[in-house]
């Protein structure tokens, strides 16, 4: 179970400017390598894929392994040429998908 996808993305930028985007989602990132007190392996359940899209087109993707910490944080960059809408999507091992949208106005 994940919750509260959080994104810090700019609301405005100048044309050609490179902007930084920071994302975080609450998730235990169970590695599949731990055992419970009875010695049974706790099944793996992680966020395995993250995608950042702008106006529907993916511009940054992360393929995530169990070595990424709980509550996975990812920061990256984007160089927008026009105004539009970001969509950020997280995929869970259990088939769930989480997403968050944010608008960007490009001036000049």
């Amino acid at each position: 179970m994940a919750s509260k996808p959080r994104v810090r993305a700019p609301k405005s930028a100048s044309k050609g400017e490179v902007v930084e985007i920071k994302t975080l989602i609450s998730h235990k990132m169970e590695s599949g390598q731990r055992k419970d007190s009875d010695g049974n392996v706790i099944p793996r359940q992680i966020i395995n894929h993250f995608e950042a899209r702008f106006n529907g087109e993916p511009f940054f993707i992360a393929e995530i392994e169990p070595a990424v910490s709980a509550n996975p944080y990812i920061s990256f960059y984007h160089q927008p040429q026009e105004s539009g809408e970001y969509e950020f999507v997280w995929n869970d091992d259990d088939g769930s998908t989480y997403s968050k949208k944010s608008k960007l106005t490009v001036e000049g």
Binding site: G32, F60, A62, A67, I74, Y77
Partner: protein, 136 residues
């Protein structure tokens, strides 16, 4: 629950050299990596192996003709060496990204950058881990 896991950490073996080589081959194929272009931003000493900040950047243009396609991060002393793959496009503007990772013990963190012309660049840095991360 994290505390329960920590007590069981000593049972976790690090990946064998063969497993590390297999992981590298899956990341970059048979291409021989060159040194340079890639910079890792890592602490020299990580007090808590459960959450070690890691940043990577590649010195490259980000145009349709020449850009960084992907950066693979690997931790060669974890039970499973793969950490994360960042995939970039010319629209990324800059081949730079960061995350936080688990390191089970003191080890090397290695980055492989795949360029759009097929060449591969590598950088590595040791990180001393004081308290190992669970289930890296």
């Amino acid at each position: 629950a994290a505390g329960v896991g920590m007590t069981l950490m000593p049972g976790l073996a690090k990946a064998s050299p063969e497993e590390v080589q297999k992981a590298i081959k899956e990341m970059i194929g048979d291409t021989t990596p060159q040194e340079g272009k890639v910079s890792l931003d890592l602490p020299e000493i990580a007090e808590n192996g459960n959450t070690v900040p890691v940043g990577v950047s590649v010195d490259s243009p980000m145009t349709q003709d020449s850009y960084v396609k992907a950066v693979h991060l690997m931790a060669d002393g974890n039970p499973s060496p793969e950490v994360i793959t960042f995939k970039f496009t010319p629209q990324s503007g800059r081949a730079e990204a960061s995350t936080r990772m688990r390191l089970a013990q003191t080890q090397n963190v290695v980055a492989f950058a795949e360029m759009s012309d097929g060449s591969v660049y590598r950088a590595a840095q040791p990180v001393k881990v004081t308290i190992g991360g669970c289930g890296g």
